[in-house]
Amino acid sequence: MGRRSAPEVNAGSMADIAFLLLIFFLVTTTIETDSGINRKLPPMEEIIDPPIIKERNIFTVVVNKNNQILVEEKLMELRSLRSEAVAFLDNGGGLAEEACDYCQGSRDRSSSDNPDKAIISLKNDRETDYKVYISVQNELVAAYNELRNREFIRLYPQENMDYVQADRKYTDPRTDKKVKEKLREKLSVIKLMYPMKLSEAEPNKTS
């Protein structure tokens, strides 16, 4: 009896089958793109006696029902909001112990004393569009990030990155624990220099 070699299986259609599966997964794939602006809501407890804040330390941003932005009661375009907020936060007009030695602003006495005192108050209307609200939030966060980036690069030039990149590295689960510890210290120093004080008032009812 002659030994018969096993007949070769035709693998030509393998590619077709694989392509079919590939196309199925291509179509059903939604690669995760979830990211957004993180916020903390204030707790429900009523503050019994609210601290007195000087008018010059508050930067009021109002978005009205026609999606117009009013900064300190003056109409403003969205594109100039970021630079205005930076100018307000970085003003450093305080004297003596309220002085701010790292601020590079104009030290105007009628604007904020120092970044720690400076509060941005955001108020919107019930008829405001969500996308406008997000744009405003985005610009205000950008103002803080801009200042934090500047200080991070000035204080830690050896890190070779800015605040946002450092923060991203810190929250990345793949980062080494030791690196994280070091980063956390540096990040909290910067956060203390420019604490994010963004207060949101409850919206007005449109009558």
């Binding site: 392509f19 993180n38 969500y130 744009s135």
Partner: protein, 159 residues
């Protein structure tokens, strides 16, 4: 004499396609691993607004999702065209949000219950009134960490 005599008739050699399945399988596995099958069927229009100062959302098991927006075209004759909230696969009212968040929180592992984030996936055209109401409900149940989920992009895209 010549050592470099042309062999054969100069026809192009056939390209072997034997490795084609391997390449395709490689791609296939990549997409299989990267795929996240949608677990919520959206019944609303959900065009997220764009922002560029964003942070990545936590791992999926630490997030509670709340959707809001106008009902999509096929639901509009039944539910109208006013923006609504969607929780899981159902339309809900503002008063359901608190109970939903508490139920979701209770279903998570104990060590995760304090680090949960609530992701608000809201259509850009929604009015802030609805979102304020949701935020009030979240404050009532002490779910204070929120994330306004956005697309990556410049604010100028929000027009």
């Amino acid at each position: 004499m010549s050592k470099f005599k042309k062999k054969g008739s100069g026809e192009l050699p056939k390209i072997s396609t034997a490795s084609l399945p391997d390449i395709v399988f490689m791609l296939l596995f990549f997409f299989m691993v990267a795929t996240v099958l949608r677990d919520n069927t959206l019944m609303i229009q959900n065009t997220l607004p764009a922002a560029d100062q964003i942070q990545k959302l936590d791992k999926k098991d630490r997030v509670i999702y709340i959707y809001a927006g106008k009902p999509s075209a096929r639901y509009q004759d039944k539910y109208g065209n006013q923006p609504r909230i969607q929780l899981n696969d159902k339309f809900a009212t503002v008063s359901d949000v608190g109970a939903y968040v508490l139920a979701e929180r209770a279903s998570k592992r104990e060590e995760l219950q304090n680090v949960l984030t609530t992701a608000l996936k809201v259509d850009g055209e929604t009015k802030m009134g609805l979102i304020s109401d949701i935020k009030q409900e979240l404050r009532k149940v002490n779910a204070l960490k929120i994330n306004y989920t956005t697309r990556i992009g410049d604010y100028t895209q929000n027009n």
